[in-house]
Symmetry: C2
């Protein structure tokens, strides 16, 4: 997905929000903001929003020297979803349609996002799963479930810390031994890295790979050769979150996107109302 | 008032909003947006927000060739407030404190602003005056009223079209023959010009001057010598709206600002909650 003009003021606002999250030094806020404005004035609108956001967060990292300012938030949300997990799992087991319920909770976890909209609190984490129980879910879950049954290899491209705990519920519904979990190669925002996946309680029955990149999404040309090979070889890719949708919506492959619609640009692009849970097959998927 | 970092994303958003209001040509939206980003990256944060906004609207005017794209909106809101005026005047007359009621309606009219926040509709114009009836009003109206009684000459610096109709109610409470009404020198946003003041029903009992400038506020160094002289000579200045507050809050003189708090930056700067009606004396006022 390309960057829309409406993304530009949002980038500027996110820059300020992120700078303030990372440091109280207003001179850093101002200098990063000016550099981001300079980048934005020449931005290639054909690149995806996360490709641009990656450059913003690199700048913040360079200026502050802080490698992973979101680590505390990530740890807190991980602990909170781990605390909720037994109850969520019980609800999946007791559901008339456990697969759909697991999809709902996996997408519900996608609310735990520091990139778009409001601040995360532990209270909003709990509410996200409550909303996922009966909130509107768009897309063909049956087609998605059939695709998971047909696939010999599934690459599950995770999004955020905390969310990745809830992803366990959906992965438990997938054919055992066929799933590889992919995380970011380096800390960016509250996106899940290998350490966050390990903290989320994945054990050695599932292979975890990282994509070698620090984009808050999957910018394939920024990813490692190893990741790209795994991506190309997978029968099915499950991509979580807006950032992965924005970066992979035009990619080749058999991809299902699972995310919550969290911004007006994505709502417009998908034709799906704000706040809806969405299961969406990529347009370029093979028949 | 200086420009705050939080004003920057708002400038970018306002640029897009204004461009879309003026033309459907997306290439114009993009090109103006890039130029504004280039201006913002080097912005002098000590200038006021309207001084920056003036440059943005000049760019839009240059690119589109449209001198007054807000003329229709201005005419509509003028007609709407003229329609409401007899009833508002009756409420002022019947009020226990007609002066305060007139202040409330004059500030209520300040809701009619295309620069900040949501779009104006004729329904919101009516609601603005309803809210002004009993909404929270901060500031010392008694001190303001005493200042109007003591002044031999009053310069009433207007803000927006439509609003300027409601200003008549307050001007009717001021000592007759002492008030000069000042408007913008050129169309910018929905700010009132001489033509809008005339459409608002001011007759020749009140002198109307323009400030010679196209800023959505009163940037004194952009104003005509004639206006600056009148500004310096006035015993009392009544300045309506956020734009005039942002540009004149540090000016010398005996100034009372009357406006509705419409953005988080102004709320922070004044210590007054969003949505409140505010009467505020300038800090540099003589004792």
């Amino acid at each position: 997905m390309k960057t829309y003009l409406n993304c530009i003021p949002c980038f500027v606002q996110q820059t300020l929000t992120a700078c303030r999250f990372v440091t109280d030094d207003e001179s850093v806020h101002e200098s990063v903001l000016r550099d981001v404005l300079a980048m934005l004035k020449d931005i290639d609108m054909h690149q995806t929003p996360p490709a641009m956001a990656m450059r913003v967060y690199r700048l913040i990292r360079q200026r502050t020297g802080r490698e992973d300012p979101y680590q505390d938030v990530k740890d807190q949300t991980t602990r909170e979803v781990l605390r909720l997990l037994p109850d969520l799992r019980r609800q999946v087991r007791q559901a008339a349609d456990p697969f759909t319920m697991a999809v709902r909770f996996a997408i519900g976890g996608n609310t735990i996002d520091c990139g778009v909209g409001h601040e995360i609190t532990l209270a909003t984490v709990g509410k996200a799963f409550e909303h996922a129980l009966d909130g509107p879910l768009d897309g063909d879950v049956g087609e998605f479930q059939a695709a998971t049954r047909a696939a010999r290899s599934i690459l599950y491209v995770a999004d955020n810390a905390g969310e990745i705990v809830a992803d366990r519920l959906l992965i438990e519904q997938l054919p055992a031994g066929r799933v590889t979990l992919a995380v970011r190669g380096r800390a960016v925002l509250n996106d899940a890295t290998r350490a966050d996946a390990e903290a989320a309680g994945y054990d050695d029955r599932i292979e975890i790979i990282d994509n070698g990149s620090d984009a808050p999404g999957t910018v394939l040309q920024e990813c490692s050769d190893a990741f790209r090979r795994r991506f190309a070889e997978a029968d099915l890719i499950i991509a979580k979150g807006q950032g992965n949708f924005e970066t992979l919506s035009d990619a080749e492959g058999n991809i299902f996107f699972l995310f919550k619609v969290k911004c007006p640009v994505i709502s417009h692009h998908t034709g799906c109302p704000m706040g809806h849970l969405l299961v969406r097959k990529n347009a370029a998927a093979p028949r």
